[in-house]
């Protein structure tokens, strides 16, 4: 895919994204939340974020919201990543590596299969 070089090209991208959104009209929006407290950052949360963004870009995944949260008190299991699909309860994953993050996006966010061997009970 050619990289966008200017704000003019962004206009086109915006129109395309609007079209896609109209088609999808997402009732089950997917949200990925990464813990970005000091403990998370020290444990590698930024690399997990990088992996998530690069997965979305490489696989052309549209309509996923990525956000952050602070320390949630499970510092020894950082980096922590949470997934919320549509109206379903939030699922919390611990000790997330960049490659596990990709795995979670593929299996859970895209296909709806929770990777229960990596989840934490909050």
């Amino acid at each position: 895919m050619p990289a966008i070089k200017s704000l003019e090209e962004l206009k086109r991208v915006r129109e395309e994204a609007l079209q896609k959104r109209l088609l999808k009209n997402a009732p089950g929006e997917a949200q990925v939340i990464i813990a970005m407290g000091t403990c998370g950052i020290a444990a590698g949360a930024r690399d997990v974020m990088k992996s998530v963004l690069s997965y979305l870009e490489t696989n052309q995944v549209s309509g996923v919201t990525v956000s952050q949260t602070g320390c949630i008190g499970l510092c020894d299991h950082e980096p922590i990543l949470q997934v919320a699909l549509g109206g379903q309860p939030k699922v919390t994953y611990g000790d997330v590596t960049p490659s596990l993050a990709e795995h979670i996006l593929r299996e859970h966010v895209q296909n709806g299969h929770i990777l229960s061997e990596h989840t934490l009970t909050v």
Binding site: I41, R46, M49, S54, S62
Partner: protein, 178 residues
């Protein structure tokens, strides 16, 4: 944390937690003065004089989920080990400015690291904040390389399209060069 850029991400997260609307993260590498200066400035809730005295104490934290907060004290120690220091100015209700200085050539200076990745992380994780990022490199021959990014034009153009759309991410990755 082994990179200055990770510490900057950590400090800017504090700005976000302080409810800032505008945050500026600036890095200047001045090879003539042999100095690396990094600064995070916000218009968040700020701190009173008493809190300001405590934030550099490793056994102080404003969080309730655990009892130690190590971000700022560790960065201060790292800067002091590398011929520099850390200063914080804060006014309640007006904002906070954290500045850290390192001797650029000091053997114990941690690497700047992946600054672009820290910028992208902040931009995506806090779309509600108006970000300004800069990285200036002043060479010994007097030449200067400047990177300046203000998210205003980008967000205006995108409107309600999220920054996490694949095409937008490709654009941002090119912009932050990694």
């Amino acid at each position: 944390m082994r990179e200055i850029s990770l510490h900057l991400l950590d400090i800017a997260e504090n700005s976000a937690a302080a409810g800032a609307h505008n945050v500026r993260v600036a890095v200047t590498e001045d090879l003539r003065a042999d100095q690396l200066t990094a600064c995070v400035q916000d218009d968040g809730c700020g701190m009173n004089a008493e809190t300001l005295k405590q934030v550099l104490d490793p056994f102080y934290t404003s969080r309730s989920s655990r009892k130690v907060g190590l971000g700022l004290p560790l960065l201060k120690a790292a800067a002091e080990m590398a011929g520099g220091g850390l200063t914080i100015e804060s006014t309640p209700g007006a904002g906070t400015r954290v500045e850290v200085i390192f001797q650029h050539s000091h053997l114990d200076r941690m690497p700047l690291g992946d600054l672009g990745c820290s910028f992208l992380t902040l931009l995506v994780a806090h779309p509600e904040i108006h970000w300004h990022f800069s990285h200036q490199m002043l060479q010994t021959d007097g030449k200067s390389h400047d990177f300046n990014f203000d998210d205003h034009a980008l967000k205006n153009e995108l409107g309600d399209i999220p920054l996490t759309e694949p095409e937008v991410l490709a654009y941002l990755r090119g912009l932050f060069q990694f």
